[in-house]
């Protein structure tokens, strides 16, 4: 049955890359989009397609996550490629770009090969690894960026830690040009964040927790933008979280500097106040910030200053979070709550549904763009990979530890009801997630 054609009928089809938003049927065959058009007008095929009824549902390209942590190899107690890709499928994602801060890190061909192999054998959706910028993520010498590219990485990052040495960042931006891959910067001036636990501000002052000022992110964002201008390298800013960062990216884009940026659902929806009561599940880096920052991030998304929404899915084991706030690990498990969180913004009238889908599909595809192998991702054009997400924009569900497929139950949304639920995820023409299916 898995190779059977699939006909998705009666749904509202949204494909920002084709500027489509209307009731259309979609026919998938041989792992690709075969046809899309008016309801009931699908061409007949020799073998009868499996029919998925999507009345009242949204049908869109499978989501692409530019930023997640699958933890394998090395931290399998937090997540594995098997569980992480299933969690992704449940969240409507069909492509995950996984960060290289594993153990060993993805700084050599062997480890990249391992991840790709593992994804092929145990994963259920596409996994595109991101390689390290520096050897061992130590921030000293460049990793073998060329060989990593050959092995299949789609970008470079030392995510989890910044590249503190400006000269090294300069060289990374220069060297990566040869492979046309973006350098993804985790912007954090660590001399300003050392010992920090949350956003620097009134809540941190009240709670007696050391703060991490937005300026720590902004001064490195400014540095990296300057280096991108200098080198002409492709810079992508990971998880920007502050109004100041949005402004920096806006100005850089106006000047034609090659920079793109992503934002996470949690930075778009939650503020530092989530930390009240010392909820370690709200401990994340960059930290949750303020309403002012959220307003600027939303504006950045609307204007296209921010290209993509990425989860920064950072699953942790219970012991990493069930401890003193200051000792707890940073990170939020976010693949499965992304859509529901973003739908809150749609329901509040903050963002258009089409825009949200664009930032989850064509937006990230654009950041990855230029790589021939990846062309066709993030759209439902005829001939593109049959990666499709069907979701119920009104479907409500309660976020609970039991409701999450990911090993990481670390989300400050536990106990929250979200509206917006994935009904089915199709990857390469196969249904890899179906609501209610075991």
């Amino acid at each position: 049955m898995s190779n059977n054609p699939i006909l998705i009928t009666g749904g509202r089809l949204i494909d920002p890359a084709q500027k489509l938003d209307k009731k259309m049927d979609l026919l998938l065959k041989d792992g690709h989009v075969f046809w899309l058009g008016e309801e009931g007008k699908a061409p007949s095929l020799p073998e009868a397609p499996t029919i998925l009824t999507a009345r009242g549902k949204v049908v869109c390209p499978g989501f692409i996550d530019l930023h997640c942590h699958l933890r394998e190899p090395g931290f399998e107690e937090k997540e594995t490629i098997a569980t992480g890709t299933r969690a992704g499928a449940r969240g409507g994602f069909t492509t995950l770009c996984c960060m290289p801060n594993t153990n060993p890190p993805l700084d050599s061909r062997a480890v990249v090969d391992y991840v790709i192999q593992k994804a092929r054998s145990e994963g259920v959706i596409r996994v595109l690894p991101i390689g390290c910028i520096s050897q061992g993520r130590r921030g000293e010498g460049l990793a073998e960026m060329g060989e990593l590219a050959e092995a299949g990485v789609v970008g470079y990052s030392d995510d989890g830690a910044p590249v503190s040495n400006a000269r090294l960042m300069r060289h990374a931006l220069e060297y990566s040009r040869g492979w046309k891959l973006p350098v993804i910067s985790h912007c954090e001036e660590i001399s300003l964040t050392e010992g920090g636990q949350m956003n620097e501000g009134a809540v941190a002052t009240r709670l007696g927790l050391k703060g991490m000022p937005a300026e720590a992110e902004e001064c490195m964002a400014a540095r990296d933008i300057a280096l991108a201008r200098l080198t002409g390298g492709r810079l992508h800013l990971a998880h920007i979280s502050s109004a100041g960062s949005v402004e920096l990216v806006r100005r850089a884009k106006e000047k034609g500097i090659s920079v793109t940026a992503e934002v996470t659902p949690h930075h778009l929806t939650l503020t530092e106040e989530k930390v009240m009561g010392y909820d370690t599940n709200a401990k994340v880096n960059p930290p949750l910030r303020t309403r002012t920052d959220i307003a600027a991030l939303l504006q950045g998304l609307r204007e296209g200053v921010i290209d993509a929404i990425a989860t920064d899915h950072a699953p942790h084991a219970a012991v990493d979070k069930m401890c003193e706030f200051g000792l707890a690990a940073f990170g939020i498990s976010g693949l499965e709550t992304a859509l529901g969180s973003l739908m809150t913004l749609v329901n509040q009238g903050e963002l258009e549904l089409g825009l949200v889908i664009a930032r989850l599909t064509s937006g990230p595809a654009g950041v990855l763009g230029g790589i021939p192998m990846k062309s066709g991702l993030g759209t439902l054009k005829v001939g593109s990979p049959a990666d499709v997400t069907i979701f119920d924009p009104k479907g409500e569900w309660l976020v609970s530890e039991a409701s999450l497929i990911s090993k990481g139950k670390n989300t400050p949304l536990l106990g929250t009801k979200l509206k917006g639920k994935v009904i089915a995820t199709i990857f390469g023409g196969r249904v890899v997630y179906k609501e209610g299916a075991p």
Binding site: A202, T205, R206, G208, L209, K210, Y278, E324, F325
Partner: protein, 337 residues
């Protein structure tokens, strides 16, 4: 201290017996003063008066908490707070168990949770906890079925210290409403300052915080506090700050602040922030001088002030035991639901 009323005839009873009921008490734990009402704090004061009488006796003991167990666990060294809680528990005939947790055991891998579960299994009623990590007592309160008293957590809160400070002020000044209290020192890292800010504001006092600009939080000023903290005046000039004060409270200066680059030199701190006779002269006559201890001799307060007539530093220590008795009584005495 309030004079005991020697009765000739029948003075109005309200002078000696404040009208208050424990039904105003809403706390199972004492973690921070940010959620205490004025009535609750008043209640603590009234009961502390009663406890002071017990402590003035030859045999300083009442049987109130017989059969109850109070556990103290300090993940950070402290002699006086721990001793004060221990004396308080013993004065109420509770069993006391002191668990010493070395600071080195607060490393990842050795779980606070395991320690807490062990204590829970011992069947304790009240857990008195000191920890270097802000918020650690909240974890304890969520995870164990005991009343948790925060005996100081990181830079966050030290509620019993603030209560004894306020009790001492009330004993000397009669009431706190409208009093000007100046807190001088390392406000940024001070849990004592934070708890006093909450408590004093709730009681209607005016709080001024003062210290070197690097040790003053940027977010205490009303315009940046976003309603997260009570209204306080932030002033970096100590001479200005103490102007007209009823109380001048100095905080302990952690000498390692200098190493972290927050202070140019301790010498400079002494010059600009030490409470000296001259500085104190700007406060109200008879203004109280307080310090949560232990005092760095010759740094926060000049020796003649610290041992002078205005100093109530030793009284703070005595009142500390009575306040903690009141807290233990309120937490451990009642019916457990």
């Amino acid at each position: 201290m309030r004079p005991m009323v020697q009765r000739e005839g029948a003075p109005p009873l309200s002078e000696t017996i404040p009208e208050i009921s424990t039904s105003v008490w809403k706390h199972n734990h004492i973690l921070d003063l940010d959620d205490f009402t004025r009535e609750e704090i008043e209640l603590i004061f009234v009961i502390t008066d009663g406890m002071k009488e017990i402590l003035s006796r030859e045999i300083k003991r009442a049987p109130t908490l017989r059969g109850k167990t109070v556990v103290t666990i300090f993940f950070e060294p402290s002699t006086r707070t721990r001793a004060s809680f221990e004396l308080a528990a013993r004065a109420l005939t509770a069993d006391v168990l002191n668990i010493t947790a070395s600071t080195s055991s607060i490393v990842k891998g050795e779980s606070l949770l395991d320690t807490l579960r062990t204590i829970q299994a011992l069947g304790a009623d009240v857990l008195v906890m000191r920890h270097s990590q802000s918020g650690a007592p909240y974890l304890a309160a969520r995870q164990v079925n005991m009343s948790v008293v925060n005996a100081g957590d990181g830079a966050h809160a030290h509620p019993s210290q603030a209560l004894l400070d306020m009790y001492t002020m009330r004993s000397r000044l009669g009431h706190l409403e409208g009093r000007k209290v100046v807190i001088i020192g390392d406000i940024l890292h001070s849990r004592v300052a934070r708890s006093n800010i909450w408590g004093l504001s709730t009681m209607g006092a005016e709080v001024v915080v003062c210290g070197p600009p690097t040790l003053l939080p940027l977010y205490m000023n009303e315009d940046r506090a976003g309603g997260q903290l009570p209204r306080v005046t932030v002033e970096s000039n100590a001479d200005k700050a103490v102007e007209g004060a009823d109380v001048v409270m100095a905080l302990r200066l952690q000498l390692e602040r200098q190493e972290k680059g927050l202070l140019p030199a301790v010498r400079e701190y002494v010059r600009y922030y030490q409470i000296t006779q001259e500085r104190l002269a700007r406060a109200k006559p008879g203004a109280l001088v307080m310090h949560p201890g232990p005092v760095n001799e010759g740094i926060e307060v000049s020796p003649e002030v610290s041992h002078g007539a205005n100093s109530v530093i030793e009284e703070q220590v005595t009142n500390g035991v009575a306040v903690r008795m009141a807290l233990l009584y309120l937490l451990a005495g009642g019916k457990k639901h």
